[in-house]
Subunit: 211 residues, 2 copies
Amino acid sequence: MTSVSTEPRDTDGPTPATAPTGGSAAQRERRRRILDATITLAAEGGFDAVQMRAVAEQAEVALGTLYRYFPSKIHLLVSALAREFTKDVDRSAIRATPGDTAHERIMYVLNRRTRALQKQPKLTEALVRAFMFADQSVTGEIHEVGTSLTTVIARAMHGTPTHGEVTEEEAAIIRIISDVWLSALISWVTGRMDEKDVEKSIDVAVRLLLR
Amino acid sequence: MTSVSTEPRDTDGPTPATAPTGGSAAQRERRRRILDATITLAAEGGFDAVQMRAVAEQAEVALGTLYRYFPSKIHLLVSALAREFTKDVDRSAIRATPGDTAHERIMYVLNRRTRALQKQPKLTEALVRAFMFADQSVTGEIHEVGTSLTTVIARAMHGTPTHGEVTEEEAAIIRIISDVWLSALISWVTGRMDEKDVEKSIDVAVRLLLR
DNA sequence: GACTGATGTAGAACGTGTTACAAGTCTAGA
DNA sequence: TCTAGACTTGTAACACGTTCTACATCAGTC
């Protein structure tokens, strides 16, 4: 309970594969099944449908095991989000982003991601709400998500899949764009913006920041 | 349950004072006691300490009555936030904001608000997390908060307490600043940023947007 | 003053996230 | 093979948000 150390893992026991790698093959497999079940349930019924007992049942693990792998529902959902975003980063590394200007390229990647999320509104609702609700204990997973997003935007900005250096100013701009995108996503999830509003608000932000 | 109307109030029954005004004096008084209890509990122990039974007890109303006034814990907390923010707006209407440039004035009001929030970290945590977790049913209260924030920034931008017109572009800039401020606040609440980071990130955003 | 409908009260009950625990199973090393 | 310890299972229990029920109170109307 007194986990005040800076790194939240490995403080008090033999907790297994909190990280995607490590552990036995059976453990990695269990972890995969759990995250798959999470995504499936979230896609069907959103945040409320991701019930720990249901996830455990669908993943064919005991409830206690589920909690051994993911210490809370929020950790579980944010980890699922992190896994999805990581896939995106890998994809963005393969080829250059289409578009002639930084503005066009950034809008391309963000809109593509936005539309993908909007095709699965329930899933998005679950993941975004978990992300927003996360407290200090989820710092690691949150950071992973942030890094993925930053990397993708940075690559789009430069137009190359290579991981070029970014200046201080560019980093600041990227952070602001991320903030705006996330805020817009929240507004969309909670029904305060429609798809057009989301694209528009990001477009305006990018235009103002890159001028 | 089928409250798809644009205005969420008065759809299905004799629900009393959802709005701050209206109802008998005794009802306004109960509403005030409930929100006071909410703020007190939140200030002491944060989101988790705002337990519906505890709020009801401290406000000296029955649990059922509490739910009649505020249909969920989230509504309750966001309403409390809205009340606090409204006080701010009233204050900002009284006198001009100090500062020679829009940048200085905006930073002045946002930093003042930020520091006030940081003096009561538990309270802020409770309010911000509720705000983030709010779903569609809380649209009204959320909108109230957003309007307050926008108004305060707009006044600071122009340097006058009068409610002058804002251009499309100014409105867009204000929205982005709000987004950044909120994101920074979340990061601070969840321990991913310290006070300096918050001020800095807003300062950078304002500088980039007002240049 | 008595009736009536809305409002408030007290407390039980339910659902779901989380924790606890006893017992079974698997793995590494002797 | 045997044993120790970690891991997994199944299940019960607990906490808190939320709902429900039966009764009390209060305001307005006859």
